[in-house]
């Protein structure tokens, strides 16, 4: 009959498994050091000084940078003189061309638009309506007043 196995009687092998490759413990420190070093040329010239700052200061700097980014994007997204660009572009178009375009296109240019236009700038309407402001007003008064909200 076999003697029952008892751990205390067994000769202990400190490292029972096969050892790693012969030069493993020579290579391991190099491999670890390669993993903990930042890759060469990855902004080390510009931000290398960050590594010399203590961790709390680095955290504070990162927070300031993030908040600064938010503030900058907020201010840059504000509309500056929002209507000025379209107005300037429209002003560059001759009025007669603009009116001809509106009349020729399918845009819904109503009599009300024309009435407002004539009230705003007589010289403009003179060039294509060939009617005095009084005649225009009479023509407009004769129209049915469907647009009650005016």
């Amino acid at each position: 009959m076999n003697t029952p196995f008892r751990l205390d009687d067994h000769k202990r092998r400190p490292q029972p498994l096969a050892p790693p490759p012969a030069d493993y413990f020579e290579r391991l420190p190099r491999q670890v050091m390669a993993r903990v070093q930042p890759p060469a040329g990855s902004g080390s010239a510009a931000f290398g000084w960050l590594a010399f700052l203590p961790m709390p200061l680095r955290t504070a700097l990162a927070s300031v940078a993030v908040l600064g980014g938010f503030a900058a994007s907020f201010f840059l997204s504000q509309p500056t003189a929002p209507a000025s660009v379209p107005i300037a572009a429209l002003e560059a178009v001759p009025h007669t061309e603009m009116v001809q375009y509106l009349l020729a296109s399918d845009s819904r240019l109503t009599l009300t638009d024309l009435a407002e236009l004539s009230a705003a700038d007589h010289t403009l309407t003179d060039s294509f309506l060939q009617a005095s402001p009084g005649e225009l007003q009479d023509a407009l008064d004769a129209q049915p007043t469907e647009e009650n909200y005016l």
């Binding site: 196995f5 751990l7 067994h10 029972p16 498994l17 096969a18 391991l28 903990v36």
Partner: protein, 183 residues
């Protein structure tokens, strides 16, 4: 080089790399074997050992000097092993015994155990322990770490560790004897 000297050098940015290199050289063998006995496979042990030292590098600045550097590194290695084994089970939806069977296959294929039938049975019996109990057994039996240090590493009481080791020895002896019994 003493741990305190390594830590003092590490705090100096100009000497940091040298200090860390010395730290790796000092502890690499112990950590590698601690990990290797848990995961069996050399490539897995290599990956995990490197991960352990990368974590040490990342957190060494915050290391509280009231604890021992050795037990702190050991604790990181222990957690890495447990996480590795549990993620292995989750990834492959493997129940406990299947991971144990996979590790047992690796043990059987290990050339270091070829021709030593009793040692092979012992290693297979150790693999049948739950992961945490296996850690306790390895630390006490192979690494000869004191129960107090083990308590620091595992966050478990000395009494519980003693009981765990005692039960582990009983289970291992029982497994080996069952395996040795003729069918």
């Amino acid at each position: 080089m003493e741990d305190q000297e390594i830590l003092a050098k590490f705090a100096d940015p100009a000497a940091r790399n040298v200090a860390f290199n010395q730290l790796v050289r000092k502890y690499q063998s112990k950590i590698y074997w601690h990990v290797r006995k848990m995961v069996i496979d050399h490539d897995d042990a290599d990956d995990l050992t490197q991960d352990v030292f990368v974590k040490v590098w990342n957190h060494l600045e915050n290391f509280r000097r009231d604890a021992s550097l050795y037990t702190w590194i050991y604790r990181i290695a222990t957690n890495e092993c447990l996480n590795f084994l549990s993620s292995k089970r989750r990834r492959f939806f493997l129940p406990l015994n299947d991971v144990g069977a996979e590790l047992a296959q690796k043990v059987e294929a290990d050339p270091g155990l070829a021709g030593d039938e009793i040692e092979l049975r012992l290693q297979k019996a150790i693999l049948r322990l739950p992961d945490k109990q296996r850690l306790v057994f390895n630390m006490k039996y192979y690494d000869e770490i004191t129960y107090e240090q083990m308590a620091d590493i595992t966050g478990t009481s000395v009494g519980a560790l003693k009981a765990s080791y005692h039960h582990a020895v009983k289970k291992i002896e029982q497994y080996v004897n069952e395996e040795s019994r003729p069918d």
